[in-house]
Each structure stands twice: as C-alpha cells, then as structure tokens.
C-alpha cells in the first residue's frame, strides 16, 4: 500500500512539474512553426535557449560602456545580418563592444520579461511596436531627451514617430525601424490582363475588379488561415472605426449591425465566386505560395513583407501592386487608415549606457545600415533620406505615405484571444461558402455564451 501511495505521489509530482515547466516556458518544448510574417510572426522555429551570437569582441556586459542587445531576429535572417553589420561598424567606429544576442521570435517573447525581472543586464532590445510599448511598457526608458540631443527626428518618418508616441502613452519610448503596412497586394499582370487600370478605392470598385479578374480566368482573392481575421477586422473598421470594432470583439456585441453587414459583404463575394476554391482549408502559407505567387490568384490582404517572403517562388518578372483596403458605403474610415507600424528598438530604463545604446540605435535605423536592412530584407527604410525603396515594394510607397490613422494588428479583430479562433474558422467557412452571413453571426453569438 505504501508503495502505491509513493507511486501516486511520484506520478503527481511528475505531472505537476511537467505542467509547471510548460507554464514557465512553453519555449522549452521547442515551439516551432514556420512564421507567416517575417516581421510580425511569433512562432518561428526559434529555440528558446539562447542562440547567442557574440559580435566577436564583446566585453563582459555592463563594463567599460559595453552594450548588451537582445534582438528578435535570427542571425541567419536578412534583418539579423543587417543588424550584425551595423553593430560591427558601430564597434569598429566607437570601440564600444556590443554583446548582440539573437533570440528569435519566441525567444524574446517568452524570455525578455523574465530576464528583465531577474535583473539581467540588457541595454536595448527590439520587437513589434505594440508588444514593446504595451506588454513591456514598464521597462522602457523615455527617449525624448536622447532623441532631441541627436536631432533624431530630422530624418525620421514622422508618421511612425507619432505612432510610437501614441502607443508609448504620449512620449517617445521606442524608435521604429523596418516599417510595414498591411494592405491588399496584387499581381499587376493579372490586373492588366483583366483590364483593370486603377486600383479599387471603394468596395464597389473592388467588386467590379473581382468580376473582371474572374472573367479573365483567375481567382480574384485568396488568403490563409493566419490572415483571414484581418479581412474581417478591416471591413469592420471601415464601417465603424477601430475603437468600436475592438469594443464589439471584446464585449461580444455580435448583434451590432456592422457584424452582419461585414458578413453579408463577404457572403456576397463568396457567392460570386471571388474567393479561392480552397480558401476554407488554406493553412498558411498555402494561399500565398501556391496561389498568389504562382500567379493563379490576384489579390491577398497582407503585410508589406509579403513580396520578400514569396520572391523565390514568384520569380523576377512578378510585378507587385498595392492598395489600401477599400472604403465601404456608409462607413466611418477611409483608405488612409490601416495597420501600419514597425519593429521598434527600446532602451531598458535601468540601462547605465543609454547614450551609447541610443547611438547604436542611430547606426541601425539611419543612413547606410537602414538602407542595407531595407535592401537585404526588401523592406521599407525608416530613414526619410533613404527615399529609394527596393523595387519589389516600390508600389507600397504611395500607400504608406497616405496613412493617417493607425490600426493595431488585424485592425483590432484579434483583441479577444478567446474569440479569435472562432472568428477565424467561421470567417473561413463564410468565404468558403459553407455558411451564410446569418450562420456566421449565429456562430459568434453561440461561442460567446
């Protein structure tokens, strides 16, 4: 009997510790999934364990003005390579050693806060604008003074600096780099063949364009499970604005007319056959790789990282076009609103080397290395004097320049983690045609109970 008690006790200990470990570090279970968005995603095959890459002559952290920098990239990614080059140059010019550690998406997401709480010496780190300013807001140093001293804003993107201040609670706590914007990307060749001369600005124009594309024998719109909620979010925001959309999603206000209107608009498109036949079962990256890049589908609502992600599949002759999510009839928001943002660099409020850290930020986000980053990752430059964008994404410039209102990720539609999966799969079914608008709304209501 004693033995049995012991056995049960031991088993419970084992199980509980397993659960405890799971809670403490999901990353230790080698969280690994290919990341949809180079710039946005969180589930890259990234070992949570330190994938430490020292920049050669890194001095013991904190001593002699040396810096410790935790980055969200992998050393092998274009972004990681460009940052490494900037850091090397910084060290060569200033003699300040930098301990640059590439943590990867999951590594930094799971590991940064515990490390900061434990008092690890980290001078600067980078991640997505919203996560840095919201989730890690309490660890950030106010950068207003440092930015003023360096006259940082003379050549910075004003819109993005404003966005950083907005999410930083009115003051500058992070510096943007590698900007991105979330909009419709399309295959110019298909548009030309279908005889579409101008990118759609309204829902009716999009409808007309889709009809022409369908007639030309192509799939007008495709998407993947990873991004489908963004379509729902954008349409809702065009109708009632972002704060209201978030309110509906968080509060489960599925009776609001906008939800039905959105569902009806998409049900209408589904009925007209505008969506890919396989949209309901497209697991990322099936839609973007097998349909859009292969030239069978014309449009995809995605971030400006898309051309880079599919460039090897799409080929050199693929000409990209870009337009902001169209306006809808009777809606509040225009095409000047979108989810745009950037990765940001921030300085630990406890850093003793803030000035040097800010200098390093300038190296990465200005001039030569900003340009290098933009070239390597086919991304948007952050420095306003780097006016030449990589050719693949030149089409994004007018869209980015036209932005006035900023939405968060998925235009607020993913603000309620308990509802995202339900919105996602029902919207997939709606676009796939297996449920109608009423069915979509009913499913959301049912899940909210």
């Amino acid at each position: 009997m004693k033995k049995k008690v012991m056995a049960i006790a031991l088993a419970s200990v084992m199980a509980a510790s397993l659960a405890a470990c799971g809670g403490g570090g999901g990353g230790s279970t080698t969280t690994a999934a290919a990341a949809p968005a180079e710039t946005k995603a969180e589930t890259t095959a990234a070992p949570a364990a330190d994938s430490k890459v020292d920049s050669g002559e890194a001095a013991p952290s904190g001593e002699g003005g040396s810096l410790v920098y935790w980055s969200m990239w992998e050393a092998t990614e274009p972004q990681g390579q460009a940052i490494q080059e900037a850091v090397d140059q910084f060290t060569a010019d200033t003699g300040i050693a930098v301990d640059l550690q590439f943590k990867g998406r999951t590594g930094i997401r799971e590991g940064l806060q515990p490390a900061l709480d434990a008092g690890t010496n980290i001078d600067l780190f980078d991640e997505d604008i919203d996560r840095v300013n919201t989730t890690w807001g309490q660890y950030l140093m106010d950068l207003e003074e440092l930015a003023k001293a360096e006259d940082y804003e003379a050549t910075a993107n004003a819109g993005l600096m404003a966005a950083c201040r907005e999410v930083g609670g009115g003051t500058l706590k992070s510096i943007p780099y590698q900007p991105n914007v979330f909009a419709f990307f399309y295959n110019q060749a298909i548009f030309d063949e279908a005889g579409i001369t101008e990118a759609p600005k309204t829902w009716a124009e999009l409808d007309a364009a889709c009809a022409k594309i369908k007639e030309a024998g192509y799939t007008p719109i495709t998407c993947d499970d990873a991004y489908i909620v963004c379509m729902f979010g954008y349409h809702m925001c065009r109708l009632v604005g972002e704060p209201k959309t978030e309110e509906i999603v968080k509060g489960g206000l599925w009776d609001e007319a906008a939800v039905m209107t959105t569902a009806e608009a998409y049900a209408d498109f589904a009925a007209k056959g505008y969506f890919s036949d396989t949209i309901a079962s497209n697991v990322w990256p099936a839609g973007q790789n097998q349909e859009l890049a292969m030239g069978t589908a014309a449009m995809y609502l995605n971030g400006s990282w898309l051309p880079n992600e599919v460039k090897d599949m799409a080929g050199d002759d693929f000409v990209w076009g870009c337009f902001s999510y169209p306006e809808v009839e009777g809606g509040t928001d225009g095409t000047d609103a979108a989810n745009y943002g950037a990765q940001v660099l921030a300085i630990n409020k406890d850093s003793k080397n803030a000035e040097n850290a800010f200098k390093l930020i300038c190296y990465i986000t200005k001039g030569e290395f900003d340009k290098r980053l933009s070239e390597l990752s086919i991304g948007i430059p952050a420095d306003s004097t780097n006016s030449e964008w990589p050719e693949l994404i030149a089409c994004v410039k007018p869209v980015m320049d036209s932005m006035n209102t900023r939405y968060p990720w998925a235009a607020g539609a993913e603000a309620n983690a308990d509802m995202t999966p339900i919105i996602k799969e029902n919207f997939l079914s709606l676009c796939g045609g297996s449920i109608d608008a009423q069915g979509f709304v009913d499913a959301l209501k049912k899940a909210g109970n």
Binding site: A15, G26, K424
Partner: protein, 301 residues
C-alpha cells in the same frame, strides 16, 4: 547510530534539496499562482492580485477552453486507441521472427527522428493539399472523385487530419516499448503452447496479453503524459492563431501567458497556472485508474 544519521543526511541532502528546488517549489508556486491574477509570469508577488477560484470559474465558463479540453480528450482517447492498437500489432509482427526485423523497426520508428516541423509541413502542404496532395491524387486515381475533392484541412476535417498526422509519428515509439515487453517474455512459454497445440492467436490472447499488462500501463501513462502536453502539432496545424479544431489546453495556456497571435492581448499567468493544475489532476487521475485497472502484481515470470 548517531554517525549513521549524519551520513544519511549528508548523502540525502543534495538530492532532496535539488528535488525541493527544482520540483517541489515550482509545483507549490504554480498551485498558489492559480488563485491569483498575474500579468507577467515573473511579476513579483507584491503585484499578484488574489482572486480565489476566479481563474477556475473563468476557465469553466470559457467555451474555447472547454473546446480545448474536449479536443485533448479526443486526442487522448481516439489517438490512444489508434496508436496503441497499431503499435501492438506492429510489435507482435516484428517480434514474430520475420525477416528484416531491424529494417522494419527502423522504418516504423523513423518519424520519431524527423522534426515535428518537417513532418507537419509534409502533411499540411503535401499530403492534405487540395491542389496536388497525396490524398487527392490517390483518390482520383482510384476513381473516388467525391473523396478526392474533400478539403482535408477545412473546419470539418481538420481535427482528424491533425490526429492522423500526429499518430503517424507516435506509433513507432510505443511499438518499441511493446516490442521490448514481448521480447522479455521467455520463448519457452510459446514453445510449450505450440506443443500443446495453441495457435498464434491463442498464444497472443493467453500468453502475450496477460504478460504485457505492465507494459500497457507504462504505455498508457506515457501516452497520457505526452497527450496532456500536446502543443507543437497544434501550433503547426494552426499557424499564428489557434482554431477550435486544433486548440489544446497547452496552447490556451500559452495564449494566456505570452499573448495570442500577433495581437497584444490580455495576459494572465494565474489562469495559465490554473490550467497546469487541472492538467496535472487529469494525469494523476489517469495514472491512478491505470494502476487500479491494470494490476500486474499477480503474475511473476
């Protein structure tokens, strides 16, 4: 005697203290955390807000979490039946003296060596692809047009698609455990049974099965523990954001602790801890049941 006591303490102390720090402390902390609202997982205790049973009540009232528990149960039960039967079947075949035994054993075990990411990509982007997938090709070659048009990754089929892909990789591991259990049984029993005129089926029914009870228990416990930690496959089958067909409690826990998808969502490590506690209770219950239902202490061989 006194000296002896000192020695006992001296030798036990390192193990006990490490056990206490590495196992006991996290368990107790996790249990305590489950009664609090905690934003960041490493927030100091002063920031914790006591909420009593609120975390558990919230879990019970969240349809997504209930779905995740239901999925876990389905994975455990349906997957368990599939994996255990296939593993046992293969183990019996492999230990029956067939030729190329080690080759087949290696082939069946192979998926365990390949990374889950690679395996899942193969299943998602190739086997289940509605454009050029293996299933589509095979079914259309066989003239089964209706089946060839099925979208295996849509909402109606995704769970089974996930389960099948997962089981494919798990059979080899449990087969090895079964095979080692069967090999442990002395061949004398089988020889004697053969002389007495028992056929293979009866030998399996009356010799192999009873003597494998302990191995069954091991396998079921191992299966339960790995099922409870079901995470990677779920993540791979629903990139970035979870969906109701693939979500498991571990994925839900991750969402609560580190935020869901690309959005900045509300975090509550206390809720995550509560999920951990619930899962532990499940595993203990299964272990207890196995111990009671599959006693093997009445047989010695």
């Amino acid at each position: 005697m006194k000296r002896n006591k000192g020695m006992i303490i001296a030798f036990l102390a390192p193990a006990v203290s490490i056990f206490a720090i590495v196992f006991l402390y996290p368990i107790i902390r996790t249990i305590i955390m489950s009664f609090f609202k905690i934003d960041g997982i490493t927030d100091p205790v002063s920031k914790w807000q006591f909420t009593g049973l609120a975390n558990f009540i919230k879990l019970a009232n969240t349809s997504l979490f209930r779905t995740s528990m239901w999925n876990l149960f389905r994975i455990w039960l349906i997957g368990g039946v599939i994996v255990m039967s296939l593993a046992l079947l293969f183990a019996v075949i492999i230990t029956s003296g067939i030729r190329l035994k080690s080759f087949f054993r290696a082939v069946i075990y192979l998926p365990n060596i390949v990374s889950a990411v690679a395996l899942a990509t193969m299943w998602l982007q190739y086997v289940y692809s509605p454009k050029f997938g293996l299933l589509k090709t095979v079914f259309s070659k066989l003239g089964l047009t209706a089946l060839s048009k099925v979208q295996w990754l849509d909402n109606d089929h995704k769970f089974m698609a996930l389960l099948l892909a997962y089981c494919f990789g798990m059979v080899g591991y449990h087969m090895l455990i079964f095979a080692s259990g069967i090999e442990r049984i002395s061949s004398d029993y089988f020889e004697a049974a053969t002389l007495d005129g028992a056929d293979k089926l009866n030998q399996f029914r009356y010799i192999t099965m009873p003597l494998l009870k302990g191995v069954f228990r091991t396998n079921i416990t191992m299966w339960s523990v790995t099922s409870v930690g079901f995470f990677v496959w779920s993540q791979l089958f629903s990139t970035v954001t979870a969906d109701t067909q693939t979500i498991t409690p571990m994925v839900y826990m991750y969402m609560q602790i580190f935020g869901a998808g690309n959005s900045v969502t509300e975090r509550n490590s206390g809720l995550g801890a509560a999920i951990g506690v619930l899962l532990s209770v499940c595993v203990v219950a299964i272990f207890w049941l196995c111990n009671h239902l599959l006693r093997d202490d009445d047989l010695e061989f």
